[in-house]
Protein backbone atom coordinates (compact mmCIF):
# COMPACT_ATOMS: atom_id res chain seq x y z
CA UNK A 1 0.00 0.00 0.00
CA UNK A 2 2.78 2.38 0.96
CA UNK A 3 4.50 1.58 -2.35
CA UNK A 4 1.51 2.95 -4.20
CA UNK A 5 1.49 6.09 -2.13
CA UNK A 6 5.22 6.70 -2.61
CA UNK A 7 5.88 9.51 -5.04
CA UNK A 8 7.14 8.17 -8.32
CA UNK A 9 10.64 9.19 -9.38
CA UNK A 10 10.16 10.48 -12.93
CA UNK A 11 13.92 10.43 -13.57
CA UNK A 12 13.57 6.66 -13.82
CA UNK A 13 11.01 7.09 -16.60
CA UNK A 14 13.37 9.51 -18.32
CA UNK A 15 16.10 6.85 -18.29
CA UNK A 16 13.65 4.30 -19.72
CA UNK A 17 12.49 6.72 -22.39
CA UNK A 18 16.06 7.51 -23.37
CA UNK A 19 16.84 3.80 -23.62
CA UNK A 20 13.62 3.23 -25.58
CA UNK A 21 14.61 5.94 -28.04
CA UNK A 22 17.95 4.22 -28.56
CA UNK A 23 16.31 0.84 -29.10
CA UNK A 24 13.78 2.26 -31.55
CA UNK A 25 15.96 4.89 -33.23
CA UNK A 26 15.33 5.07 -36.96
CA UNK A 27 18.33 4.35 -39.14
CA UNK A 28 20.43 7.37 -40.03
CA UNK A 29 22.08 8.22 -43.30
CA UNK A 30 20.61 9.25 -46.61
CA UNK A 31 21.87 6.11 -48.30
CA UNK A 32 19.63 3.94 -46.15
CA UNK A 33 16.53 6.01 -46.91
CA UNK A 34 17.28 6.16 -50.61
CA UNK A 35 17.61 2.39 -50.63
CA UNK A 36 14.33 1.95 -48.75
CA UNK A 37 12.62 4.42 -51.10
CA UNK A 38 13.88 2.48 -54.11
CA UNK A 39 12.66 -0.75 -52.54
CA UNK A 40 9.21 0.71 -51.85
CA UNK A 41 8.96 2.11 -55.38
CA UNK A 42 10.01 -1.14 -57.01
CA UNK A 43 7.47 -2.92 -54.81
CA UNK A 44 4.81 -0.49 -56.03
CA UNK A 45 5.79 -1.03 -59.66
CA UNK A 46 5.55 -4.78 -59.14
CA UNK A 47 2.33 -4.44 -57.16
CA UNK A 48 0.82 -2.19 -59.82
CA UNK A 49 1.58 -4.72 -62.52
CA UNK A 50 0.00 -7.60 -60.65
CA UNK A 51 -2.71 -5.69 -58.90
CA UNK A 52 -5.53 -7.04 -60.99
CA UNK A 53 -5.29 -10.49 -59.54
CA UNK A 54 -8.62 -12.25 -59.03
CA UNK A 55 -8.86 -11.41 -55.33
CA UNK A 56 -8.15 -7.74 -56.05
CA UNK A 57 -10.83 -7.84 -58.71
CA UNK A 58 -13.11 -9.53 -56.19
CA UNK A 59 -12.23 -6.86 -53.65
CA UNK A 60 -13.10 -4.17 -56.19
CA UNK A 61 -16.57 -5.69 -56.66
CA UNK A 62 -17.13 -6.35 -52.97
CA UNK A 63 -18.81 -3.03 -52.18
CA UNK A 64 -21.22 -2.94 -55.17
CA UNK A 65 -22.03 -6.61 -54.53
CA UNK A 66 -22.83 -5.91 -50.88
CA UNK A 67 -25.04 -2.98 -51.84
CA UNK A 68 -26.85 -5.11 -54.45
CA UNK A 69 -27.34 -7.92 -51.93
CA UNK A 70 -28.72 -5.44 -49.39
CA UNK A 71 -31.17 -4.05 -51.98
CA UNK A 72 -32.32 -7.57 -52.94
CA UNK A 73 -32.79 -8.50 -49.28
CA UNK A 74 -34.73 -5.31 -48.64
CA UNK A 75 -36.97 -5.90 -51.69
CA UNK A 76 -37.56 -9.51 -50.63
CA UNK A 77 -38.40 -8.35 -47.11
CA UNK A 78 -40.90 -5.75 -48.39
CA UNK A 79 -42.49 -8.31 -50.75
CA UNK A 80 -42.83 -10.87 -47.94
CA UNK A 81 -44.32 -8.26 -45.64
CA UNK A 82 -46.84 -7.19 -48.29
CA UNK A 83 -47.80 -10.81 -49.01
CA UNK A 84 -48.30 -11.45 -45.32
CA UNK A 85 -50.41 -8.30 -45.01
CA UNK A 86 -52.64 -9.28 -47.95
CA UNK A 87 -53.03 -12.77 -46.49
CA UNK A 88 -54.10 -11.26 -43.18
CA UNK A 89 -56.60 -8.93 -44.87
CA UNK A 90 -58.15 -11.85 -46.77
CA UNK A 91 -58.41 -13.92 -43.60
CA UNK A 92 -60.03 -10.99 -41.76
CA UNK A 93 -62.54 -10.36 -44.50
CA UNK A 94 -63.33 -14.05 -44.69
CA UNK A 95 -64.14 -13.99 -41.01
CA UNK A 96 -66.55 -11.07 -41.43
CA UNK A 97 -68.23 -12.42 -44.56
CA UNK A 98 -70.48 -15.39 -43.75
CA UNK A 99 -69.99 -18.52 -45.75
CA UNK A 100 -72.63 -19.34 -48.38
CA UNK A 101 -73.71 -22.43 -46.41
CA UNK A 102 -74.65 -20.28 -43.43
CA UNK A 103 -77.17 -18.19 -45.38
CA UNK A 104 -80.83 -18.73 -44.44
CA UNK A 105 -82.58 -21.01 -46.87
CA UNK A 106 -85.89 -19.77 -48.19
CA UNK A 107 -88.22 -22.65 -48.51
CA UNK A 108 -91.00 -22.71 -50.95
CA UNK A 109 -93.58 -25.31 -51.25
CA UNK A 110 -94.50 -26.31 -54.74
CA UNK A 111 -98.03 -25.18 -55.48
CA UNK A 112 -98.86 -28.62 -56.92
CA UNK A 113 -97.91 -30.27 -53.69
CA UNK A 114 -99.82 -27.71 -51.66
CA UNK A 115 -102.95 -28.31 -53.70
CA UNK A 116 -102.69 -32.07 -53.24
CA UNK A 117 -102.22 -31.59 -49.53
CA UNK A 118 -105.31 -29.38 -49.29
CA UNK A 119 -107.37 -31.91 -51.27
CA UNK A 120 -106.32 -34.69 -48.91
CA UNK A 121 -107.06 -32.50 -45.94
CA UNK A 122 -110.53 -31.62 -47.25
CA UNK A 123 -111.27 -35.32 -47.91
CA UNK A 124 -110.30 -36.25 -44.43
CA UNK A 125 -112.23 -33.45 -42.82
CA UNK A 126 -115.38 -34.09 -44.80
CA UNK A 127 -117.76 -36.12 -42.72
Amino acid sequence: MTDHLKLHDYREDDDTTRALRKVYAAPEGETYWRTLEARILSGLALGASVRLRWWDELDRWMRPALVAAAVVLLAAGVAMFRAHQVEQEVAYEAMLTPAPSALPVETAVRPVLQEQRETTFRYLMTP
Binding site: K22, A25, P27, R39, A48
Partner: protein
Amino acid sequence: MTAAIAFRPVFSPPMASDTAKGTSEREYVIAAQKGSDAAFAELVRLHQRRAYSVARAIVLSHEDAEDAVQDGFLHAYRALDRFRSDQPFGAWLNRIVANAALDLVRRRKVRDADELPETVALPFRDPGESDELRRRLAEALTRLTDRQRAVIVLHDVEGYTHGEIGSMLGIPEGTARSDLHHARAALRRLLNDVRSDR
Protein backbone atom coordinates in the same frame (compact mmCIF):
# COMPACT_ATOMS: atom_id res chain seq x y z
CA MET B 1 8.00 16.99 -73.37
CA THR B 2 5.30 14.39 -73.63
CA ALA B 3 7.78 11.89 -75.04
CA ALA B 4 10.16 12.53 -72.16
CA ILE B 5 7.40 11.77 -69.63
CA ALA B 6 6.31 8.71 -71.56
CA PHE B 7 9.80 7.27 -71.44
CA ARG B 8 10.32 7.89 -67.77
CA PRO B 9 10.40 4.57 -65.95
CA VAL B 10 7.46 3.79 -63.68
CA PHE B 11 7.98 5.20 -60.16
CA SER B 12 11.17 7.01 -61.07
CA PRO B 13 12.23 9.43 -58.33
CA PRO B 14 10.72 12.88 -58.80
CA MET B 15 12.74 15.48 -60.63
CA ALA B 16 14.65 17.97 -58.50
CA SER B 17 12.67 20.78 -60.11
CA ASP B 18 9.44 19.41 -58.58
CA THR B 19 10.63 20.10 -55.06
CA ALA B 20 12.32 23.33 -56.09
CA LYS B 21 8.92 24.63 -57.17
CA GLY B 22 7.70 24.06 -53.64
CA THR B 23 4.87 21.77 -54.63
CA SER B 24 2.71 21.13 -51.58
CA GLU B 25 1.85 17.70 -50.26
CA ARG B 26 -1.80 18.23 -51.22
CA GLU B 27 -0.81 18.90 -54.82
CA TYR B 28 1.23 15.71 -54.86
CA VAL B 29 -1.74 13.80 -53.49
CA ILE B 30 -4.08 15.24 -56.14
CA ALA B 31 -1.54 14.55 -58.89
CA ALA B 32 -1.02 11.00 -57.61
CA GLN B 33 -4.80 10.46 -57.58
CA LYS B 34 -4.85 11.53 -61.21
CA GLY B 35 -2.30 8.83 -61.96
CA SER B 36 1.07 10.55 -61.55
CA ASP B 37 3.52 7.94 -60.27
CA ALA B 38 6.20 10.61 -59.86
CA ALA B 39 3.91 12.48 -57.44
CA PHE B 40 3.34 9.29 -55.45
CA ALA B 41 7.11 8.71 -55.38
CA GLU B 42 7.46 12.16 -53.84
CA LEU B 43 4.89 11.22 -51.20
CA VAL B 44 6.95 8.11 -50.43
CA ARG B 45 10.03 10.27 -50.00
CA LEU B 46 8.18 12.70 -47.73
CA HIS B 47 6.58 10.09 -45.49
CA GLN B 48 8.81 7.02 -45.41
CA ARG B 49 10.63 8.00 -42.19
CA ARG B 50 7.43 8.53 -40.20
CA ALA B 51 5.95 5.41 -41.74
CA TYR B 52 9.04 3.45 -40.67
CA SER B 53 8.77 4.77 -37.09
CA VAL B 54 5.10 3.79 -36.87
CA ALA B 55 5.78 0.31 -38.23
CA ARG B 56 8.86 -0.14 -36.02
CA ALA B 57 6.79 0.65 -32.93
CA ILE B 58 4.47 -2.23 -33.72
CA VAL B 59 6.68 -4.98 -35.13
CA LEU B 60 9.57 -6.65 -33.37
CA SER B 61 12.41 -6.13 -35.81
CA HIS B 62 13.89 -3.62 -38.20
CA GLU B 63 13.39 -6.00 -41.14
CA ASP B 64 9.69 -6.46 -40.33
CA ALA B 65 9.31 -2.69 -40.10
CA GLU B 66 10.72 -2.33 -43.63
CA ASP B 67 8.31 -5.00 -44.90
CA ALA B 68 5.37 -3.31 -43.17
CA VAL B 69 6.32 0.07 -44.66
CA GLN B 70 6.49 -1.46 -48.12
CA ASP B 71 3.12 -3.19 -47.65
CA GLY B 72 1.63 -0.01 -46.24
CA PHE B 73 2.69 2.11 -49.21
CA LEU B 74 1.37 -0.52 -51.60
CA HIS B 75 -2.03 -0.55 -49.82
CA ALA B 76 -2.07 3.25 -49.82
CA TYR B 77 -1.29 3.33 -53.54
CA ARG B 78 -4.14 0.95 -54.26
CA ALA B 79 -6.56 2.84 -52.04
CA LEU B 80 -5.50 6.30 -53.21
CA ASP B 81 -8.74 6.96 -55.09
CA ARG B 82 -10.65 6.50 -51.81
CA PHE B 83 -8.54 9.12 -49.99
CA ARG B 84 -10.20 12.51 -49.52
CA SER B 85 -7.55 15.11 -50.28
CA ASP B 86 -8.94 17.54 -47.69
CA GLN B 87 -7.72 15.34 -44.81
CA PRO B 88 -4.06 14.98 -43.75
CA PHE B 89 -2.31 12.42 -45.93
CA GLY B 90 0.23 11.54 -43.20
CA ALA B 91 -2.43 10.48 -40.69
CA TRP B 92 -4.22 8.40 -43.33
CA LEU B 93 -0.98 6.75 -44.41
CA ASN B 94 0.08 6.07 -40.82
CA ARG B 95 -3.19 4.23 -40.19
CA ILE B 96 -2.58 2.06 -43.25
CA VAL B 97 1.05 1.38 -42.26
CA ALA B 98 -0.04 0.57 -38.68
CA ASN B 99 -2.60 -1.91 -40.05
CA ALA B 100 0.03 -3.47 -42.30
CA ALA B 101 2.37 -3.79 -39.29
CA LEU B 102 -0.35 -5.31 -37.09
CA ASP B 103 -1.16 -7.76 -39.87
CA LEU B 104 2.52 -8.70 -40.12
CA VAL B 105 2.71 -9.26 -36.35
CA ARG B 106 -0.33 -11.55 -36.54
CA ARG B 107 1.16 -13.52 -39.42
CA ARG B 108 4.52 -13.82 -37.63
CA LYS B 109 2.75 -15.08 -34.50
CA VAL B 110 1.05 -17.85 -36.43
CA ARG B 111 4.32 -18.76 -38.18
CA ASP B 112 6.55 -18.54 -35.11
CA ALA B 113 4.12 -20.25 -32.73
CA ASP B 114 6.38 -23.27 -32.36
CA GLU B 115 9.67 -21.45 -32.51
CA LEU B 116 11.79 -19.68 -29.90
CA PRO B 117 10.26 -16.88 -27.80
CA GLU B 118 10.21 -13.53 -29.52
CA THR B 119 12.81 -10.84 -28.84
CA VAL B 120 12.86 -7.19 -29.65
CA ALA B 121 15.73 -6.66 -32.04
CA LEU B 122 18.16 -3.94 -31.12
CA PRO B 123 19.17 -1.53 -33.88
CA PHE B 124 21.24 -3.36 -36.45
CA ARG B 125 23.78 -0.60 -36.88
CA ASP B 126 25.29 0.04 -33.45
CA PRO B 127 25.76 -3.18 -31.51
CA GLY B 128 28.66 -1.70 -29.53
CA GLU B 129 26.40 0.88 -27.95
CA SER B 130 24.19 -1.54 -26.07
CA ASP B 131 24.38 -1.45 -22.30
CA GLU B 132 22.68 -3.38 -19.52
CA LEU B 133 19.62 -1.12 -19.34
CA ARG B 134 19.03 -1.38 -23.06
CA ARG B 135 19.48 -5.13 -23.04
CA ARG B 136 17.06 -5.51 -20.16
CA LEU B 137 14.70 -3.04 -21.76
CA ALA B 138 14.60 -5.05 -24.98
CA GLU B 139 13.89 -8.11 -22.88
CA ALA B 140 11.23 -6.32 -20.81
CA LEU B 141 9.51 -5.08 -23.96
CA THR B 142 8.80 -8.66 -24.96
CA ARG B 143 6.82 -9.07 -21.72
CA LEU B 144 4.39 -6.34 -22.75
CA THR B 145 1.44 -7.06 -24.97
CA ASP B 146 1.85 -6.07 -28.62
CA ARG B 147 -0.52 -3.18 -28.13
CA GLN B 148 1.11 -1.91 -24.94
CA ARG B 149 4.52 -2.00 -26.63
CA ALA B 150 3.22 -0.14 -29.67
CA VAL B 151 1.48 2.47 -27.51
CA ILE B 152 4.50 3.23 -25.32
CA VAL B 153 6.84 3.52 -28.31
CA LEU B 154 4.44 5.64 -30.35
CA HIS B 155 3.87 7.94 -27.37
CA ASP B 156 7.22 8.14 -25.61
CA VAL B 157 9.53 7.73 -28.58
CA GLU B 158 7.59 9.11 -31.53
CA GLY B 159 5.58 11.70 -29.62
CA TYR B 160 2.10 10.86 -30.92
CA THR B 161 -0.89 11.87 -28.79
CA HIS B 162 -3.25 9.31 -27.28
CA GLY B 163 -5.89 10.25 -29.84
CA GLU B 164 -3.50 9.77 -32.77
CA ILE B 165 -2.35 6.42 -31.38
CA GLY B 166 -5.95 5.31 -30.87
CA SER B 167 -6.77 6.23 -34.44
CA MET B 168 -3.71 4.43 -35.80
CA LEU B 169 -4.26 1.24 -33.83
CA GLY B 170 -8.04 1.27 -34.09
CA ILE B 171 -8.65 1.57 -30.34
CA PRO B 172 -10.42 4.23 -28.24
CA GLU B 173 -8.27 7.08 -26.89
CA GLY B 174 -8.97 5.95 -23.31
CA THR B 175 -7.66 2.48 -24.09
CA ALA B 176 -4.45 3.96 -25.50
CA ARG B 177 -4.10 6.03 -22.32
CA SER B 178 -4.62 3.02 -20.08
CA ASP B 179 -2.27 0.84 -22.18
CA LEU B 180 0.42 3.49 -21.80
CA HIS B 181 -0.08 3.60 -18.05
CA HIS B 182 0.15 -0.19 -17.74
CA ALA B 183 3.13 -0.41 -20.10
CA ARG B 184 5.06 2.19 -18.11
CA ALA B 185 4.24 0.49 -14.83
CA ALA B 186 5.32 -2.89 -16.21
CA LEU B 187 8.59 -1.53 -17.59
CA ARG B 188 9.31 0.27 -14.32
CA ARG B 189 8.73 -2.97 -12.41
CA LEU B 190 10.79 -5.07 -14.82
CA LEU B 191 13.68 -2.63 -14.91
CA ASN B 192 13.73 -1.86 -11.24
CA ASP B 193 16.40 -4.41 -10.39
CA VAL B 194 18.67 -3.08 -13.14
CA ARG B 195 18.55 0.38 -11.59
CA SER B 196 19.01 -0.85 -8.05
CA ASP B 197 22.19 -2.65 -9.16
CA ARG B 198 23.72 0.60 -10.40
